[in-house]
């Protein structure tokens, strides 16, 4: 698997690697030809046995996408992507089946052990055939029974298109219309699959919708689409991603996540992203262009984003909140770590429309190696948003003198009763702190891990317990070798 990273042309990997390894030689009809045109869209839609309206949506999105240009305002630098040189349908993507863990990259196994991942899980994550005991199907069934009892719909996006067309048609594109941006249009045209979640009125989802995801999310493909609707007075906590590193060879990811919260509803969305960041020389790695947005549609609704971003070569991601309902609340808690040659341009947008709306932004950027880490955030107060409040705290920590840490906040206030406060600091780990730890016998690497975790604590505390622990370990691993 590692050979691919030697290839200079990153895009080429995507298109050629599949043949090289012969992942799909046995099911020829399961992937589309290289390139993107209306026929490909029709092919995807037909493959997924979609109704006519879904195809129409995809085609409209595609036609719009053709009129757009790839954005270049982010503080990111990567070779130009040839969108005609990508396979847009090769799903469900299966990993090469390995006979035993002996065949797995030892570096990956080492990481698994550090994360404390069980042997069974290690096998599953690295593509080794797994026993029937933790077969995902059985686990899935157990969860689905519990959820069904509460009337919660939680299924793949394709299933939702088939089984809940009214809900999908009503809400899909409400928060992120296909016209929103280049990558959103692309996703709307070619999205492979994703998740759909509907929490009925007054229901408090009894599970973190995460364990399920952890087992099944790995194969949702490169153009994921997630739609979460929380009806009046409901609550759900949703965790996307996986703390274990995925050797995902998909180069380009352009996902969409839409959240809609009705009156008094609350959605907590947590992400731990640890996709392949490329090797130490900056070769390979995932390009992650994500449009995530939540709409606080109802009064007193609340959407809270928590993200721990440690992976991907390129991250372009701004989980946002549109605070439309009066008294609604938006939150964004982020830790973004970049090492080696990683580049991240991430942050949030808080758009205050309703009265008494509140937003909080806490962003902790950590840069190491030769990486560049940018916070980019918008706080916009519209004229009707009387008494809107925002507090933003964006801190950057630099490890080493070859990396960059940047902060680009945008504040637009059009209501005189609003109060906006933005604070940011940039600093490095203090020699005093390091020495103190070392004097107590903690080696430099561990000490950095310790200090960085302390620095990021405010955000990590927002994660569900189980993942907070793993995220902490992940931070330490990501920064390994960052200080010589």
């Amino acid at each position: 698997m590692d050979e691919t990273s030697n290839n200079d042309n990153i895009i080429e990997q995507v298109t050629t690697s599949e043949y090289k390894y012969g992942f799909f030689t046995d099911i020829e009809t399961d992937f589309a030809p290289v390139g993107l045109n209306e026929d490909i869209i029709r092919f995807i839609s037909a493959k997924k046995e979609e109704p006519e309206w879904m195809l129409e949506f995809r085609l409209k999105a595609f036609r719009h996408w053709q009129t757009l240009e790839e954005p270049n305002w982010a503080h990111l630098n990567y070779p130009k992507i040839n969108y005609q040189d990508i396979i847009y349908y090769a799903a469900p993507k299966k990993k090469k089946q390995l006979a035993s863990l002996d065949e797995v990259d030892p570096e990956l196994l080492d990481t698994f052990n550090k994360l404390g991942i069980s042997l069974e899980e290690q096998k599953m994550l690295s593509g080794v055939a797994v026993d029937a005991v933790i077969d995902s199907v059985s686990v899935k069934t157990t969860f689905q029974d519990t959820l069904a009892k509460h009337g919660i719909i939680f299924c793949s996006f394709s299933e939702a298109v088939r089984n809940h067309p009214d809900l999908v048609r009503k809400y899909m594109g409400m928060v992120v219309p296909y016209t929103d941006n280049f990558f959103a249009a692309l996703n709307s045209a070619v999205f492979s699959d994703g998740s759909f979640c509907y929490i009925p009125e007054g229901v408090r989802c009894p599970l973190e919708l995460s364990t399920y995801f952890r087992i099944n999310a790995a194969n949702t493909g490169q153009f994921e689409r997630t739609l979460i609707v929380a009806d009046k007075g409901s609550y759900v906590s949703y965790l996307e991603g996986c703390t274990a590193p995925q050797r995902d060879e998909n180069q380009l990811h352009a996902a969409i996540v839409e959240i809609i919260a009705m009156d008094h509803a609350e959605v907590k969305y947590s992400t731990v992203q640890n996709w392949y960041p490329g090797d130490k020389e900056g070769q390979g790695g995932v390009y992650n262009f994500v449009t995530k947005r939540g709409l606080c549609k109802g009064v007193s609704s609340k959407i809270s984003w928590t993200q721990v971003e440690t992976g991907s070569a390129i991250t372009w991601k701004y989980p946002s909140c549109i605070l439309q309902g009066d008294n609604s609340i938006g939150e964004f808690y982020s830790v973004a770590v970049t090492n080696n040659f990683q580049q991240a341009d991430t942050g949030t947008k808080m758009v205050h429309i309703g009265k008494n709306t509140r937003s909080t932004i806490v962003s902790k950027g950590i840069s190491a190696g030769r990486s560049n880490n940018s916070y980019r955030g918008l706080v916009r107060i519209l004229p009707r948003a009387t008494n809107a409040r925002n507090f933003s705290q964006c801190d950057s920590l630099l490890l080493g003198d070859k990396c960059g840490a940047h902060t680009f906040p945008y504040i637009e206030a059009k209501n005189e009763t609003s109060i906006i406060e933005h604070e940011a600091t940039t600093s490095k780990i203090s020699e005093d702190q390091l020495f103190y730890c070392r004097q107590r016998g903690i080696d430099t690497e561990k000490a950095i891990g310790l200090i960085v975790n302390g620095y990021a604590k405010e955000v990590l505390n927002k994660l569900p317990m189980e993942f907070a622990v793993e995220a902490q370990k992940l931070l330490a691993i990501t920064l390994e070798g960052s200080v010589g």
Binding site: I381, H406, T407, E412, T417, E421, E423
Partner: protein, 469 residues
């Protein structure tokens, strides 16, 4: 030069340059000619900036540029009573006045003059002839004009302006004050250029006033290049008090060498539209810059402060503070940008932008950016938008102070730390008065003249004059 007013300004300037290229550059060296031509080409390629450009997103010049401007390429004859008119609001304190009328240097004497303290100054066109080596060495070096074609067209075509040279070791005690007046019956496009050079161990304090005399529209495009050699000290105060039909595009580029110190303070009291592009490059170890600003806007006024502080060397410090009070339908843009170059270790850079909105119709867009490539740095920035502190408001009112006066007091207090940073006492007192007047709405209400030359000075003790309210 015959101008047909119906030609769009952009076309007019291009035509003028092409027709008069040789005459425009008659006294320029080959080096300067090449610079001018290159900038002209860039203006030709880009035209005036549009609000589709990221850096001009919130400042739309379309309406302003639509006006039938005229642009003179030869000096105009100033009116008879010019010296009566030539008073900035800030007068009555020890300063040596340099007058610029509609962009042209105004003096009975020709050539450069050296004042009693050893500071050399005069018109830019004379400097070119008298000190050609110095002129060639510095002209167009700092003013790069990236993202800003106003700098390009100024570099290509500006004919006159002010030249100031402070030789090695000269520590000027007296403040130099450039007063720039615009007075024209027709909408006029004015370009002027300043070149200020401080040699090693020298010091200078400079006030740069932009004033209008009438209520006619104008578009002023001014570019200032300032070179501060090692261990030199500069204080630069910009006072902007123009009428509501005026637009001012001010671009100031400051280059600092080792252990130099610069303090700039941009005080904006009135103008239809102002764009301040201020760039301070700390190129030598141990340099320090204070970059301050205050803007008090009302009606439909617009201010856009684009402030760049570039830490290109290690051990430099900078402190940036911009404060604004926005009333009525005024809009303000603040885009601060601190750049710390790789290896510019031990940098300390601070940036702060604070705004008060007084009316629901006022708007602020604040973008305090940091771009940092060195790790051993202390950088922070902050931005706030809010209204007057309601706790403080009640406290004042409980002590019997009326709402209107409490509001004035708090606004004045908000502005105080920018005003208090003015180290020339006479100037500070004058600015203090001006801010008070401005907050009471007296500075822009005068019907015939924005300068209130006829209004006798009011007595101020240490408080806001309550009798007026």
């Amino acid at each position: 030069m015959n101008n047909s007013p119906s030609i769009p300004l952009e076309q007019l300037l291009v035509d003028q340059f092409r027709a008069g290229e040789n005459k425009l550059m008659a006294h320029d060296s080959d080096k300067v000619k090449a610079i001018r031509k290159e900038h002209f080409q860039r203006f030709l390629d880009n035209g005036f900036p549009s609000s589709e450009m990221e850096k001009w997103r919130f400042t739309d010049l379309e309406e302003i540029l639509d006006q039938p401007f005229i642009h003179e390429l030869t000096p105009e004859k100033p009116p008879q009573n010019i010296h009566d008119i030539f008073r900035c609001e800030v007068h009555n304190f020890q300063s040596e006045i340099i007058s610029v009328f509609n962009g042209w240097y105004l003096s009975e004497k020709t050539g450069l003059q050296t004042n009693s303290e050893g500071v050399v100054y005069g018109s830019l066109s004379d400097a070119k002839k008298v000190m050609p080596e110095l002129f060639d060495r510095f002209f167009g070096q700092a003013a790069h004009g990236n993202d800003n074609s106003f700098v390009n067209i100024n570099t290509a075509m500006a004919q006159d302006g002010v030249f100031i040279y402070v030789p090695k070791g000269v520590q000027a005690k007296r403040t130099l004050q450039i007063i720039k007046m615009v007075n024209h019956e027709d909408p006029v496009f004015v370009q002027s250029r300043q070149l200020v050079i401080l040699e090693e161990n020298s010091s200078l304090s400079l006030i740069h006033c932009d004033d209008s005399i009438n209520h006619k529209p104008c578009l002023i495009n001014t570019v200032t290049e300032i070179y501060v050699a090692s261990n030199a000290h500069l204080e630069l105060y910009k006072l902007q008090n123009l009428n509501n039909s005026s637009a001012l595009i001010n671009s100031t580029f400051i280059r600092q060498q080792e252990d130099s110190a610069v303090k700039t303070n941009a005080l904006t009291f009135n103008c239809g539209l102002i764009r301040n592009n201020i760039e301070v490059a700390l190129n030598g170890k141990g340099a320090h810059a204070d970059v301050l600003g205050l803007y008090l806007m009302d009606k439909q006024q617009h201010i856009d402060n684009q402030i760049r502080v570039l830490h290109n060397a290690a051990h430099c410090t900078s402190n940036e503070l911009f404060k604004g009070i926005l009333d009525d339908e005024a809009t303000a843009v603040f885009n601060g940008y601190i750049y710390v170059k790789k290896d510019a270790q031990k940098t300390e850079a601070f940036q702060n932008n604070k705004n008060i909105l007084l009316k629901p119709t006022a708007t602020i867009n604040s973008m305090p950016f940091l771009e940092i490539y060195a790790d051993d740095v202390k950088c922070s920035h902050g931005a706030t938008v809010g209204q007057l502190d309601q706790e403080a408001m009640f406290y004042l009112r409980q002590r019997g102070i009326s709402q209107a006066n409490a509001r004035l007091l708090l606004m004045y207090a908000f502005a105080a730390d920018v005003i208090n940073a003015i180290s020339i006492e006479g100037l500070r007192n004058r600015i203090d008065d001006m801010v008070k007047k401005r907050l009471r709405g007296e500075l822009s209400v005068c019907e015939t003249c924005v300068l209130h030359c006829g209004t006798p000075e009011k007595e101020y003790f240490f408080d806001i004059d309550l009798s007026k309210l």
